[in-house]
Amino acid sequence: MAEDLILELKGITKIFPGVKALNKVHFQLRRGEVHALMGENGAGKSTFIKVITGVHAAEEGQMFLEGEEVHFKGPRDAQEAGIAAVYQHPTSYPTLSVTENIFMGHENVKNGMIQWRSMNAEAQKLLDSLDADFKPTDEVGTLTIAQQQMVEIAKALSTNAKIIILDEPTAALTANESEKLYGIVDRLREEGKSIIFISHRFEDMYRLATRVTVFRDSQYIGTYDVDGISNADLIKAMVGREITDMYPKEDIELGEEIFRVEGMTRTGYFKDVSFDVKAGEIIGLTGLVGAGRTETIESICGITKPDSGKIFLEGREIQIKEPVDAMKAGIILLPEDRQKQGLILSWGLGRNVTLPIQEELANKGFNDEKKERELAKQRLEEVDTKAVTIFQPASSLSGGNQQKVVVAKALAQSNMKVVIMDEPTKGIDVGAKKEIYEIMGQLAKKGYGIIMISSEMPEIIGMADRIFVMCNGRISGCLQRSEVTQERILELSMEKSGTKKGGAAS
């Protein structure tokens, strides 16, 4: 048994000021296996990875590499020992070339001089092996997220690592991009690499892993064979309770058309986009990353300026020039990137919630702090945010709870008519996901129009009444709830996309 372990960690404890991020956790990785690491957000997975890669030093515990105890003083040590990690957010250097990103920290150096030519050639080889459609000399900042992810993988390969850690690599990828990634992982395993794979997606785990280790609340829960564990059991292990009926979609009577856009066009991003929403209806907007979904709704909400297009609310055409116009009209956006666009992380939760409406609450321009506190408390409790006080900074919450604050912020706007949610469950754990779906369902029941943008097919299929698929900046089709299947969506989103190159800013 022992001889086939390439990596083993025993009783690892990691303490950050005020919190125990890891509490005596164990982990075993066999040579040549793909091992999934699962758990809710905040369970300690990312911290654990950083302990393995030497970014953090553990307070307690031992780590064995091929049977020998090791102590990493920094990321460099881990790299040299043959451990490479591909982090959740691509840790790339946007202003530098692909080659440089791949070889940063372990450049080919001869006589103190970096050998660009040989590095470029080597990078090209790595990219070829990954079937990449970009050049080693391209600037990474101009690549798409999926392409950047590929650079990260190439980077891990370039170190000749024996152990490769993939931290939520599929979070930002669309279905077919994920498929490509699976292929790469398969090949790596065949080449004898050992892989640790962190993901929220069960499909990733089923598709790739042979064993799965679950963490919960900074603690080790158990390691299971993927073949021998059911979905429900796994969720129970992760969440600590059972979750039934993931998508609480109720059939409700749809009302009048509440919202409609016609012929929205913004050169280079999307063209001639039209769709409509009825009161109480959940509309799904999907497609590949870069298809122009986010760009479209950003233009609808006044964040960027469209070249042409008309917007109708309750039958009347409205003019939206700035975000504030959309909000005043009752069109509320829950942006895709909650940390950058949705929240002010250094602020308390309460202030975040009342930011868009402080003027309504204010008394002659002076903030009414008492009214703000009361409203914030009420809204945050409504969405069941796990927080101690409304004054704690948003950065102290987990992803799911941050998303709830964003929702509370939207709910605080009394004139809301249409809610646009851009990737509302991206990167949040199962439990929180379900709560977001519940809120969505309740909103629909109250007669709001809801537009949900998502790359995750199960949720789109599970929640939406109608699904608009975008491809290459256009709406390529609309599917009714009754007729939708994963295959139909894929088909519509892949039309003519074979020649797609370069990235649209997301």
């Binding site: 964040i303 002010i344 602020w347 868009p356 003027e359 002076f366 409504e382 969405v383």
Partner: protein, 339 residues
């Protein structure tokens, strides 16, 4: 749609007087007291009437400190204001000498400041790709350049001009009791600026922009409009600074306002306003400004080499930004060992 778990989130405001005293502003007040004690100890002439008498020339800068505070809270910076003081002062002097009544000259002074600020604001908001430091570096050279041209083409040349009709300025330089008019003006402007930043929706928006510009924009705040307003405001305060500087100098020359921008930024930073935006408040800046002024007056009365005073201010600036970071890391270490 109540939360199903019924979890309660506290909305109680914690901390009272104790935490206020122990805050950065509390520390600044301690330092202000310390500086004044030091003044009394080292100089027999350090008393209320002398300090108030020496103060007006420094008071002028404090007007700009408030505006700079807004700009820094936004996460921007403006290094053109010293030159703008020069330009506003110059135009005022020259137009007054050309026969403009004093009342109108005051309006012109504020207007020139406002226009200068608006130019900064216009470029900064139109070309958001440019760092504001570069924009205002350019306008800094331009403002002083315009003043130089005006001295030559409109004034009598020689890069200097003085007011011929000083009656109006004399009026402004008067004192009410021991207090110069400028002192009251600083207090009034200060109260308004502090209150607006701390208590109003306008101020809250500035903090939002400084903390996260994108999120502020998504939350419906007209970011560029707010920035434009702040630059214009700072410009107008530079005009006000120029006006009160005139009550001390009765004239303007090409060196007027040199280095003011840095002194004003130093006051803000010493007062706890971060140049990265979204942090600090003007009360701190206000106290810090008086610390620096009192310190200069006290050391000046002891005839300490003026350059040594600059060294001390530089040291204080660095120490004041280092202390929080050092005490944070000490606190973090303590906490870790406790846990």
């Amino acid at each position: 749609m109540a939360g199903k778990s019924g979890r309660e989130i506290s909305a109680e405001v914690k901390g009272g007087i104790r935490s206020k005293i122990l805050s950065w502003e509390g520390a600044l007040i301690l330092i202000l007291v310390a500086v004044n004690i030091l003044g009394v100890v080292i100089s027999p002439n350090y008393n209320v009437s002398n300090v108030l008498r020496e103060m007006p020339r420094y008071l002028a800068e404090i007007f700009m400190m408030f505006g700079m505070g807004y700009i820094l809270v936004l996460g921007d910076i403006d290094i053109s204001v010293g030159a703008l003081v020069c330009l506003a002062g110059t135009v005022t002097v020259l137009s007054s000498n050309a026969g403009l009544p004093f009342g109108l000259a005051v309006v012109v002074c504020l207007l020139v400041g406002l226009l200068g600020g608006m130019l900064n604001g216009f470029i900064a908001t139109r070309f958001t790709e440019l760092p504001t430091m570069i924009v205002t570096l350019g306008t800094q050279i331009i403002f002083r350049g315009i003043a130089e041209v005006l001295f030559e083409t409109w004034g009598n040349g020689g890069g200097t001009a003085s007011m011929t009709d000083t009656k109006g300025l004399m009026l402004l330089a008067q004192k009410i009791g021991p207090f110069p008019i400028a002192f009251f003006c600083v207090i009034i402007v200060g109260i308004i600026m502090i209150t607006v930043l701390a208590k109003t929706t306008f101020g809250r928006k500035l903090y939002a922009i400084g903390s996260n510009k994108t999120a502020a924009y998504y939350a419906g705040i007209k970011v560029e409009k707010m920035r434009f307003i702040c630059y214009s405001l700072l410009g107008m305060l530079a005009g006000l600074c120029a006006l009160f500087l005139l009550t001390a100098t009765f004239g303007s020359n090409t060196t007027t306002g040199q280095g003011f921008e840095m002194e004003v930024i130093a006051m803000c930073v010493f007062g706890g306003i971060a140049t990265t935006g979204g942090k600090g408040n003007l009360i701190g800046g206000f106290i810090a400004a008086f610390i620096i002024v009192c310190l200069r007056i006290a050391l000046g009365q002891r005839n300490i080499n003026t350059q040594v005073i600059l060294v001390i201010i530089g040291l204080m600036l660095i120490i004041s930004v280092l202390v929080p970071s050092i005490s944070n890391s000490i606190a973090a270490r303590k906490k870790r060992s406790a846990a």
